[in-house]
Amino acid sequence: MILNEEQILERMVDPDPSRRIIITPLINPEEQFGPTSVDLRLGTDFQVIKRPNITHLDFINDPKEISRNLARYTTPVKVGATEPFVLHPGEFALASTLEYIRVPLDLAARLEGRSTWGRLGLLIHATAGFVDPGFSGALTFELSNIGQVPMPLYPGVRISQICFFESKKTKLPYAEKKYSKYSGKTTTACSAYFKDPEYCRIRKALDS
């Protein structure tokens, strides 16, 4: 069952702190709350891939080397409060929510775009809009502009919304899940695909 605005409110003030939804900062709740969702804002840090420097994504290399290469192949971009990040048509960039989110263990959440931005051709995630119970941190946007014109994006703008679903209390919170890679992060992080165990195994098999 999806939570409505009153149920979200109730979970934000739950007497048991571990059952509370945390969304902070809530700059203007009147603007941000919808019937079954809360709007989230764009943060200030972005990761852009330097296409001219990369021939392909290397999945098999030594993880340290991949990590070093990722830093070489991606550009972190910070924008100031009144400075736009311009997303060009066809371009892909990672960003994160301005807000810090905490999802309790008996709720799951979904990050969705807002129709205002969808109408302009902005996608806020490529595939990963699902938020596990027990997640805390800033959520990552996988931004792409499928429109025809460059899109200046200002930090603090409400480009997305989060909605919550009830579930039974999980015994496998995201932060404690084996191999969880992005728990507690407050900044925009690149993919840590090379930490997935299957690549370790493939690397091992290739080495032997």
Partner: protein, 457 residues
């Protein structure tokens, strides 16, 4: 306290070395850029330091017990500590030859932008010049002299705020105290003050020059502690303990002990020293523990004959600095209280860019009461709007961060020592502060946006 003082100084050192190692692993160990010789020297220095720390692991663990360590063990740790300090400074000087972008990346520039947009900080409306070059001013001496015709104080306020994820941890954010020196509105000339004060006294030229030099540095300290509160105290102890030794000697700057005393007294005057008592005590204990440390850290004001003049100078500088600063810019008790609230949030790993205006329990009570009333009178916005938050200031955020760091690192160090960390894993040690630092950076960044969206700058 003896045990704690010893451990504390090792803890600071370990974190510094671990951060250097992370920097080394993520950036410097690239033969294509830095060449073989440089990499080998760095690696050798790091290995020596790590081995020295690990050799003392058992004694350090023992220091957590109630019993005071035996003298022989204390001496062993101290001699190791002295070796570490020398090694650390060697490594530091090796790294100082690097182009600044390898040591101080874009965080400095980012924070510069933050500060430019955050006009209320320090009560300064003009642009705040904040340059990573402050850290490498020896290698950019000409440029510095061009920008700052006045003498440059050495104790820039340096915050340890990494911007990236844990793979790239060493980022120095410089909130340079030079912001005061080149801002017309609050320009102050410590040399003139010293001259004015001593012109009719019979002081020899050497002593006079010494006091003038001290005046620059201490003016800088006074500005900073008045603007940033207790955070500056923590910061100075942690970063100053190892970084300033070489500089202090070279530049005849005031010793760490003089600074410590000045800042501690300043905070006591405004009732903000309670939290710092333990830090004050370990620092004093450290000075009692070892003569050699005592002399390299310079715990005393050596020239007793100058003490009365020094005290007079301090009073004059304090008066001048207080006059130049707007009251609204001073870090006050209200800021301190908000920092404590933010510190509570940090204990739960939550972002501290803002604080709730209404108490959560009150929001719940009001809501529950309203639910019992007729539906027509219920207005959901009335309740939702109570979640509106107030942005904190960068000073409040930074203070909360230092309180948190000071209160938690000892336990983290214990866990670190207790687990079977080999030298290869030393880099894991600072991951907890990296997380904290990321939270602080994100908080500062977020509060700026928050303020813009409230349209109240």
């Amino acid at each position: 306290m003896k045990n704690f003082a010893l451990r504390k100084v090792f803890l600071i050192l370990t974190e510094k070395i671990a951060r250097l190692e992370n920097l080394y692993n993520s950036k410097l160990a690239d033969e294509r850029i830095f060449g073989n010789d440089f990499i080998t020297s760095c690696q050798r220095s790091l290995d020596k330091l790590k081995a020295e720390i690990l050799q003392n692991k058992l004694i350090l663990l023992e220091s957590y017990s109630e019993k005071t360590l035996e003298d022989a063990k204390i001496q062993k740790v101290l001699s190791s500590l002295e070796k570490c300090i020398t090694g650390f400074l060697e490594l530091h000087s090796l790294l100082s030859y690097l182009p600044s972008n390898y040591v101080i990346p874009e965080t400095g520039i980012f924070l510069n932008n933050v500060l430019k947009n955050h006009h209320n900080l320090c009560g300064i409306k003009s642009n705040i010049l904040l340059s990573p070059d402050f850290l490498t001013r020896d290698t950019h001496k000409d440029l510095f002299e061009l920008i700052f015709p006045c003498e440059i104080a050495s104790n820039t306020l340096t915050l340890y705020l990494p911007i990236m994820e844990s793979s790239d941890p060493l980022y120095w954010v410089i909130l340079s105290k030079k912001i005061f020196a080149h801002t017309d509105k609050i320009r102050i000339n410590p040399k003139l003050i010293a001259d004015r004060l001593f012109e009719e006294r019979n002081i020899n030229l050497e002593d006079r020059a010494l006091l003038e030099k001290l005046a620059y540095e201490l003016t800088s300290d006074l500005f900073t502690v008045k603007l940033f509160g207790p955070a500056y105290y923590y910061l100075m102890l942690e970063l100053g303990t190892f970084r300033s030794i070489a500089e202090s000697k070279k530049r005849h700057n005031p010793t760490l002990a003089i600074r410590e005393e000045l800042i501690y007294n300043e905070l006591k005057k405004v009732s903000m020293a309670d939290e710092l008592a333990q830090a004050h005590e370990w620092f004093a204990e450290l000075s009692r523990l070892s003569e050699k440390l005592h002399s390299i850290l310079g715990f005393e004001f050596k020239r007793d004959n100058l003490l009365p003049l020094f005290n007079e100078l301090m009073i004059a500088l304090d008066r001048e600095v207080s006059e130049k600063l707007e009251k609204s810019a001073l870090f006050n008790e209200k800021d301190y209280k908000k920092s404590l609230q933010a510190y509570d949030r940090l204990n739960n790993d939550v972002l501290i860019s803002s604080s709730y205006i209404h108490d959560i329990d009150n929001i719940r009570n009001d809501y529950e009461k309203a639910c019992k009333e007729p539906e027509e009178s219920f207005n959901i916005y009335e309740h939702l709007n109570k979640f509106k938050e107030d942005p904190n200031t960068p000073q409040q955020i930074v203070n909360a961060g230092w309180m948190y760091k000071d209160n938690t690192t000892d336990k983290v160090f214990f866990d670190f020592l207790s687990n079977d960390y080999g030298p290869a894993n030393l880099g894991l040690f600072p991951s907890y502060t990296t997380k904290l630092d990321n939270n602080l950076v994100k908080s500062i960044e977020t509060l700026v946006i928050h303020k813009v969206l409230l349209n109240e700058d």
